[in-house]
């Protein structure tokens, strides 16, 4: 039956991989913070916008056409990876919005029209009509140039200028050629690093023509790097872990049949784990596979305990082994699975996937050992010398019962001191960067690109919710008023209010414009033969005016609408220094919410870290109670190694300067699940030598798997690996140290 289950899982997994590819983007790993529907929608809109777009900026040393030639040739060579993507330049925006410009005005011009004297208005009109460069609109349409000013202001938000087919940027007396590409996801995210290789080639070609500044950014860059490193890590970690387990298995059991069975159990565990994860989530992330290499070390434990028992004495009846091992194996399985399921309680889909992957893999190993191994008829297995030798060697290690009272006191004081000082000096941390393994250069380029392109922040912005469109616009306009009243250097907004006015403001502005016209009309009539004609407010309803904007293709992305009465107000120029002042602009406006995505994620990580820490304490208490019931007076030997192991691991990491993050706590939960096994088996063992040897084997294989995780480029996985590896060592040492000696009653 179990064979059938495994075959179905293997088939399902294989066919899924033939049609799909694992997730590679970091965004899917990010925690879903407890936020409103609007915030979720806003975040989705901002993150989806440029998902497959790659920005390339090249500093131009001399002739931009030479650089353009290099870029074009590079694009041709890499046409399977990326294609040129049209970008909106200033002229695109200006052309698109000319039709609506006459209904708009900048905040500055509105103040001007309100405050200028008749003479000043006349001077402005005269300047406009006498300049040889003809204005964009006729004097009847736009007598004071306010429509043109509004167009220029909108266009100025896009620093990219199209000049004779080149998209150029200038900043700090340097010129850059701007290009935007759309990547082919299947080619770029396959883990081969093809995008990174292509960019290296581009950099080399650009150096030949004298340009040594290439700035590349975009989600594809980060995601392809993540996929490439994950692929490498799976290969390296998986290979070394497997080789290590094979070598250890051979050394411990000295039989090819045992080694083959161990590998079979590992393989079927991975197949079942992958199939379960895909079935539950519909997807699987490459990071899950990286973490899943630890299954190699965990699943081997059940096989090790079985064969450890099998080698205790001459046996012909394998079923008795299962009967004897079953209670301990079940306890061990429950503690491990519970630990993984706690991971699933976090808001990070990546963690949830890892939890489901590992707990289903562990269960599968348990099932395979219990259901398959007894069916295999070994020839009689001799009393195994290697296990006995190793067991005898380890039994010579110091133990608690052999120590003098003074030594015991000293150890207790030293241990308590380490734990107390370590816990007191804990450095709590909750950073989004823990999930990211990208090179620092990528972040520097992203920041520089953002400054050059004058882009808005995708992580800090306002969400404005109104009762209707009019209310929404009025609230946005209030934000703008506040910024105009108390300007913050470098900060500007972009929102729907840039492109259309509320009915209230439109009426007000129209009145101001007509008053301004009337004030200079006597002079205009004398000069040009007829007066300026008053304009009526637009006859279109507010919804119709919005529809006009929505019908302009080049404009849709700039409106930042979430629904008919909710929209974002995006912010340019946010820095760490002005963040609070920007936030304060939205204070006490009903319906205006400040969103700080980075902070929200950190708060979520912190919240879950603390919650899981409480769960850790509760779990320890629950297991202690269960073990007390099972082992009674000897239960302390079962739970104390793990309790001490967890405490000392946390304390030592703290003393070494490591941060205390959600990943530290999750690793400690895992330690609980893995560590209690050793105490359980040790306490219930009849023949201690073989059991201690088996436990050592299990510890070494787990140490190997998680120890290799310390080599991961992802900080979260590195923390996991370090914590579990250190904890495993301490728990194993404590299990051996607190063992029951033969002379103890």
């Amino acid at each position: 039956m179990w064979v059938l289950v495994v075959l179905v899982c293997a088939f399902f997994t294989t066919s899924w991989f033939l049609q799909h590819r694992p997730q590679t983007d970091i965004i899917s790993l990010l925690p879903q913070s407890e936020e409103s529907y609007e915030q979720t929608q806003a975040q989705k809109q901002l993150s989806v916008a440029g998902r497959n777009l790659l920005t390339v900026l090249v500093e131009i040393p001399d002739d931009p056409y030479v650089i353009k030639g290099v870029i074009n040739d590079w694009e041709k060579v890499n046409s399977d990876l990326l294609t040129h993507h049209h970008i909106k330049t200033r002229v695109d925006i200006q052309n698109a919005v000319k039709a609506v410009a006459l209904r708009q005005i900048t905040w500055e011009d509105e103040r001007m029209l309100r405050s200028y004297s008749k003479h000043q208005l006349w001077a402005r009109f005269v300047n406009l009509i006498t300049m040889p460069p003809t204005p964009l609109f006729s004097p009847q349409e736009d007598p004071f140039g306010t429509a043109a000013d509004w167009m220029y202001e909108r266009a100025a938000e896009i620093p990219i200028r199209e000049v004779n087919g080149l998209n150029l940027l200038e900043k700090d007396n340097k010129r850059y050629l701007f290009s935007l590409f759309e990547v082919t996801p299947d080619k770029v995210y396959d883990g081969s690093g093809s995008l990174q290789k292509a960019l290296l080639a581009l950099e080399s070609e650009l150096k030949k023509v004298g340009s040594d500044k290439l700035i590349v950014t975009g989600v594809p860059l980060f995601a392809s790097y993540s996929a490439m490193t994950a692929q490498n890590e799976i290969t390296v970690l998986g290979t070394f872990s497997l080789i290590g387990v094979c070598l250890l298995s051979w050394f411990w059991f000295r039989r090819f049949s045992v080694l083959a069975l161990i590998l079979l159990v590992i393989s079927q565990a991975i197949a079942v784990a992958a199939a379960t994860t895909i079935a539950v989530f519909g997807q699987i992330h490459l990071i899950t596979f990286v973490f899943g290499t630890t299954l190699i070390g965990i699943t081997v434990d059940y096989s090790a305990h079985y064969f450890g028992k099998r080698f205790e004495a001459r046996r012909t009846n394998s079923n008795n082994i299962v009967k004897e091992l079953f209670p301990s194996l079940v306890l061990a399985l429950i503690s491990t699975v519970i630990a993984f399921l706690v991971m699933a309680n976090t808001p990070m889909q990546g963690m949830q996937q890892m939890a489901v992957f590992c707990s289903s893999g562990v269960f599968s190993a348990f099932a395979a050992v219990l259901l398959w191994y007894p069916c295999i008829r070994f020839k009689t297995l001799d009393n195994h010398h290697t296990l006995q030798t190793i067991g005898s060697f380890i039994e010579k290690f110091p133990s608690w019962s052999r120590l003098s009272e003074l030594s015991k006191m000293g150890l207790l004081i030293a241990g308590a001191a380490v734990i107390i000082i370590g816990l007191v000096t804990l450095k709590p941390s909750a950073r989004l960067q823990d999930l990211n393994n990208s090179p620092p250069q990528y972040f520097q380029d992203a920041l520089l690109s953002s400054e050059l392109i004058n882009s808005t922040s995708a992580t800090q912005f306002f969400i404005v919710k109104g009762d209707n469109l009019e209310d929404l616009l009025q609230k946005q306009e209030l934000l703008y008023h506040r910024l105009a009243a108390k300007p913050i250097d470098g900060v500007s907004f972009t929102s729907l209010a840039d492109w259309m006015m509320s009915d209230a403001r439109m009426q007000h502005v129209n009145d101001i414009k007509n008053r301004a016209r009337q004030s200079i009309n006597p002079q205009v009539e004398e000069l040009l033969g007829s007066p300026l004609v008053d304009r009526e407010v637009s006859t279109l309803t507010i919804d119709q005016r919005l529809q006009v904007l929505l019908d302009i293709d080049d404009l849709k992305d700039h409106l930042n609408l979430l629904d008919s009465s909710t929209a974002m107000v995006l912010v340019r120029g946010i820095t760490a220094e002005n963040l609070l002042r920007v936030k304060a602009l939205g204070d006490h406006i009903d319906g205006v919410t400040w969103v700080n995505y980075t902070q929200n994620i950190s708060m979520t990580l912190r919240h879950y870290r603390d919650q899981i820490a409480q769960l850790l304490i509760f779990s320890i208490m629950a297991v202690v109670v269960v073990l007390a019931i099972r082992f009674k007076r000897e239960s302390w030997r079962a739970f104390l190694p793990t309790v001490l192991g967890v405490s000392l691991t946390l304390a030592i990491l703290s003393l070494l300067g490591a941060n205390y993050t959600i990943f530290t706590v999750l690793a400690l939960i895992l330690l609980l699940g893995l560590g209690f096994d050793y105490g359980i088996f040790m306490t219930s063992a009849n023949r201690q030598k073989e059991t201690v040897a088996t436990i050592t084997f299990a510890a070494l294989t787990t140490l190997l798997s998680f120890g290799l995780l310390m080599l991961s480029n992802t900080p979260a996985l590195k923390t996991f690996g370090t914590t579990v590896a250190l904890g495993q060592c301490i728990i194993w040492a404590m299990t051996v140290f607190l063992r029951k000696e033969k002379n103890e009653s």
Binding site: R90, Q94, V126, T130, S138, P139, A155, S530
Partner: protein, 201 residues
């Protein structure tokens, strides 16, 4: 030089003569290209929606590669200083400055006007398709913009001249027509202070 070109024109059929008679390089060679020139202007603007054209008169100074000072004297005094990077307008009541870096069409326009005044072939051919008509003393050059920036401001530009640019007609998309006549061109001794200030900046 002009007589040579006229001789060529007379000996050939008109169509071929037009095709071969004049191109930008020839025109550039024909034009006087002083580094500093001043003169007076008369400007007529025929504005849509107004029955009377706006007539202004004034003086200008052109300094090659640096800019133009355009000073209107009548019917009202105002001054415009146009440089490769800026357009500054000054009157009794206000001073306004617009950076051509922020306004693509303005940047190109500034380059064009300066380029026209100094017969810069590269600037003209870069942004316009050019058609010529050459008669005995006068030449006519019709510029049709290639650039999206310029198309927003001009439908076409018609320039007439002999050794110097005499008349410029700017046709706008909104239907306005600006006719600028240049005369009394001479070479001043001093560079205008307004352009000197900009140069120092």
């Amino acid at each position: 030089m002009i007589k040579k070109w006229l001789t060529v024109l007379c000996l050939m059929p008109l169509g071929m003569a037009q095709a071969l008679a004049l191109n930008l390089e020839d025109l550039s060679a024909r034009l006087d290209r002083p580094s500093l020139v001043a003169g007076s202007f008369e400007q007529e603007k025929f504005l849509i929606g107004f029955p009377k054209p706006l007539k202004t008169q004034g003086v200008y100074t052109f300094w090659a590669d640096h800019g133009i000072v355009w000073e209107t004297k009548t019917p009202f005094a105002s001054k415009m200083i146009l440089t490769p990077t800026q357009l500054r307008s000054v009157s009794d009541y206000q001073e306004r400055s617009v950076s051509s870096e922020d306004n693509p069409h303005l940047r190109v326009l500034n380059q064009l006007l300066i380029g026209l005044m100094q017969g810069d072939v590269k600037v003209i051919s870069e942004h316009f398709n050019v058609a010529f008509k050459d008669s005995e003393d006068l030449w006519q050059m019709l510029l049709m913009p290639k650039d999206k920036n310029i198309k927003m401001v001009f439908v076409k530009i018609l320039i007439e001249g002999d050794k110097e640019v005499k008349t410029l007609r700017f046709y706008s998309p909104n239907g306005d027509l600006t006719v600028i006549g240049l005369k009394d061109q001479h070479h001043p001794e001093n560079i205008p202070q307004d352009l000197q200030i900009h140069n120092k900046q």
